[in-house]
C-alpha cells in the first residue's frame, strides 16, 4: 500500500463526510423553514392540532417552553445546535425522546431491508444468468419481472401474497410477528420490485460482457459456462446494479413504509407514517434525518463495493 493510495482514500472519506454533513444540514434546514411556511401555529400543532381547542394560556406556555417566542433565526440556531449534539427533540404525539424512539425502531427496518436486498440480488443474478443461457421462457420471466417491478404497488403485492399464502393456504401469518415465518411475506414483497430493476440492468450488462473479447479468450482457455459466469462475467454484471444501490435503498425504504403498515410490523416506516398522519414534526424530522444519513452511507458503501469489484476506477 503506497502512501498515495492512503491519501486518496483519506480524501475520499473526507469528501464523503462533508457531503453527508451538508445533506443533513440541508434536510434539517428545509424542514425547519417549511414548518414556518405552512399556515398554522406550531404551538397548536404541539398541543394536537387545530382540533385541540387549546386555551391561550396553554399556547403561551408551550411557546415559551419550546422557544417559539424567540426570533426565527435564534430558533433556527438553537435547533441546529440541538441536532449537532444529537438531540432530536421530543415527539409531539408520543411525548418521548425522538432519538431513543428511532434507535428502537431502526434495527427492525434495517434487518428487513437487508434481507430483502439479499433476496433481491439473488433473484436478479439467477434470472440474469438464466437469461444468458437463452430460451424464451427465461427472457419472458425476466421481462415480466421488470414490468411487475415498475407497475405493481407494494401494498397490492402484499395484499395478494396475504390472500394466497395466509387466507387461502394458511401457510404464513398475515401479521409479521417476531417469528421467522412472519418475515417471509414482508421480505418477498419488498424484494420483488427491486429484483425486477436489478435483474434488468444485470441482464443487460451480463449480455454485453458475454460478447466481449475477454469472455471469448476465457472460453478459449477452456473455461466452462459456469466458471466463466462466476469468475469473469459476474463482476461486470454486478456493476450497474451497484451503481443503483442508492435507488435500491430508496425503493426498500419507501416500500418499508407500506410493508410495515400492511403487515403491522414495528419499524422506521410505520413510525414515519404515524408521524405524518399526526403531523408530529420532530418525529418526521428525526426519521428524515436518519434515513438521509442511511442513504448517504448506503451510497458510499455502494461506491466502495464498486471500487473493490472494478479495478479500473481505482487507477484513476
Amino acid at each position: 500500500m503506497r502512501p498515495g493510495r492512503w491519501r486518496r482514500a483519506g480524501r475520499w472519506l473526507v469528501g464523503r463526510l462533508l457531503g453527508a454533513l451538508f445533506v443533513l444540514w440541508a434536510v434539517a434546514t428545509l424542514i425547519f423553514f417549511a414548518i414556518r411556511l405552512v399556515p398554522g401555529d406550531p404551538a397548536e400543532a404541539i398541543l394536537g392540532g387545530p382540533g385541540s381547542q387549546a386555551s391561550a394560556e396553554a399556547l403561551d406556555s408551550v411557546r415559551r417552553q419550546y422557544g417559539l417566542d424567540q426570533p426565527l433565526f435564534v430558533q433556527y440556531l438553537a435547533q441546529l445546535g440541538r441536532l449537532a449534539t444529537g438531540d432530536l427533540g421530543t415527539s409531539y404525539s408520543l411525548r418521548t425522546d425522538v432519538g431513543r424512539l428511532l434507535l428502537d425502531q431502526l434495527p427492525g427496518t434495517i434487518g428487513l431491508a437487508l434481507l430483502a436486498l439479499v433476496v433481491a440480488w439473488s433473484i436478479a443474478i439467477v434470472t440474469a444468468w438464466w437469461a444468458t443461457l437463452g430460451g424464451r421462457i427465461a427472457s419472458a420471466v425476466s421481462s415480466g419481472l421488470e414490468v411487475v417491478a415498475s407497475a405493481v404497488p407494494h401494498f397490492w403485492l402484499a395484499s395478494l401474497l396475504i390472500l394466497v399464502f395466509s387466507t387461502r393456504l394458511g401457510l404464513l401469518p398475515p401479521v409479521s410477528t417476531g417469528t421467522p415465518a412472519g418475515l417471509v411475506l414482508p421480505v418477498v414483497t419488498l424484494a420483488i420490485p427491486v429484483a425486477g430493476f436489478l435483474g434488468q440492468v444485470t441482464r443487460d450488462s451480463l449480455l454485453d460482457a458475454a460478447a466481449t473479447p475477454f469472455a471469448l479468450s476465457a472460453r478459449a482457455r477452456g473455461e466452462g459456462p459456469s466458471g466463466l459466469f462466476v469468475r469473469h462475467l459476474l463482476r461486470h454484471a454486478a456493476l450497474p446494479g451497484l451503481a443503483l444501490s442508492g435507488w435500491a435503498f430508496g425503493s426498500l425504504l419507501s416500500g418499508a413504509v407500506v410493508v410495515e403498515s400492511v403487515f403491522a410490523r414495528p419499524g422506521l416506516g410505520r413510525t414515519l407514517l404515524g408521524a405524518v398522519t399526526l403531523r408530529d414534526i420532530p418525529l418526521v424530522t428525526g426519521v428524515a434525518l436518519v434515513s438521509a444519513l442511511a442513504y448517504v452511507v448506503v451510497v458510499a458503501l455502494g461506491d466502495l463495493a464498486e471500487r473493490a469489484i472494478d479495478p479500473r476506477g481505482r487507477a484513476a
Binding site: V23, A26, V27, L30, I31, A34, I35, L37, V38, A131, T132, L133, G134, G135, S139, V147, S150, A151, V152, P153, H154, F155, W156, S159, L160, I162, L163, T167, D204, L207, D208, A210, A211, P213, L216, R219, P225, G246, W247, F249, G250, S251, L253, S254, V257, V258, V262, L272, L273, V276, T277, R279, D280, I281, V284, A288, S291, A292, Y295, V296
Partner: protein, 298 residues
Amino acid sequence: MTALPDLPRGADPARASSSRTARRRLPLGPTELVAAALLSLLVVMAVAPGLLAPADPLAVSPTDAFAGPSLAHPFGTDESGRGVWTRVVHGAGASLTIGLVATMIGTGLGVVLGVLAGLGGRGLVGRATDAGVSRALEVLFALPGLLLALVVIAFTGPGAVPATIAVGLATAPGYARIVRSQVAAVRRSPMVEAATVLGRRPGLVLVRHVLPNALAPVVVLATLGLGQAVVWASSLSYLGLGSPPPAPEWGAMLSAGRTYLAVAWWMTVFPGLAVVVTAASATVLGRGLARRGRGGRR
C-alpha cells in the same frame, strides 16, 4: 465489434453492442399496441365513465353488500353494496388526473432545474448554478421516493391535492438529473459547436438547438413516469393520505378494501389491477417509445 463465434445464445453481438445506441426505427410491436389500446380504454373511462358503467358509483345499497363477482356486478360489490366495476370505471378520472398532474409537476420542475444546472459549466455564475442545483438534487435524492412525498404531506396535511403535489415533487429530482446530463451532452455536441462557430447568438442556439434535442427524451421519461406516479399516488391514498374514502379513487378503494381482505378479495384485487394495468401500459409504451427514439434520433 466483430462477430464472435460460439456466443451464448441470446447474446448476439449486434444486440450487445447496440443495447444503448443504434437500434433501428421499429414500428410499435404487438405488446406496445395492446398497451396503447388499454391506455385508450382508460382514457375513455376517465372522460365518459357512464358509457362503460351507467350505475351511480356513490349509490349505497346495503342489501347487496359483499356480493362476489356476478353478471350484475362483474367485479363484485363493496361494504355498502356499490359495484366495484362501476367504482373502478368512475375512479379512472380521479386516478389518471392525479397521475398526470403529478407527472407534469415533476417533469416541469425537473426540466427547469435540469436546464439550469446543465447550462452551467463555463463562467462563474454558470458553475455556481450547476453546483448549487446539483447539491440541491443530492439533498432531495437523500429522501428517496415516497419518503419525500410523506415529508411534504406532513406539512400540508392529507388530501388529493397535497398528495398530487407531493408525488410531483418526489419525482422531480429524477427528471432533473437526466435533463441535466442531456443538456450538458447536447451542448458539447458538434452540432451546437457548429452553430456557435457560425455566429448564432447563444440564446438562439439554446432555443433552436439545445433544448429541442435535450428535451426529446423527456416525453419518453414522462410516459414511463406516469405509471410510477399513479402507483405512488395510489400508495398514498392506500395509506390514508390521499383522496378521502367515499370518493371513487383507486387508492381510496384499496384502502377501504384492506379491512375486508379476507371476506371480499374482489375489493382489493380489481382496483389494484386497474392501477397495475395503467402503470404497466405506461411502462410498456414508454419503453417502446424509448426504443424507437434511440433508433430514430441522433
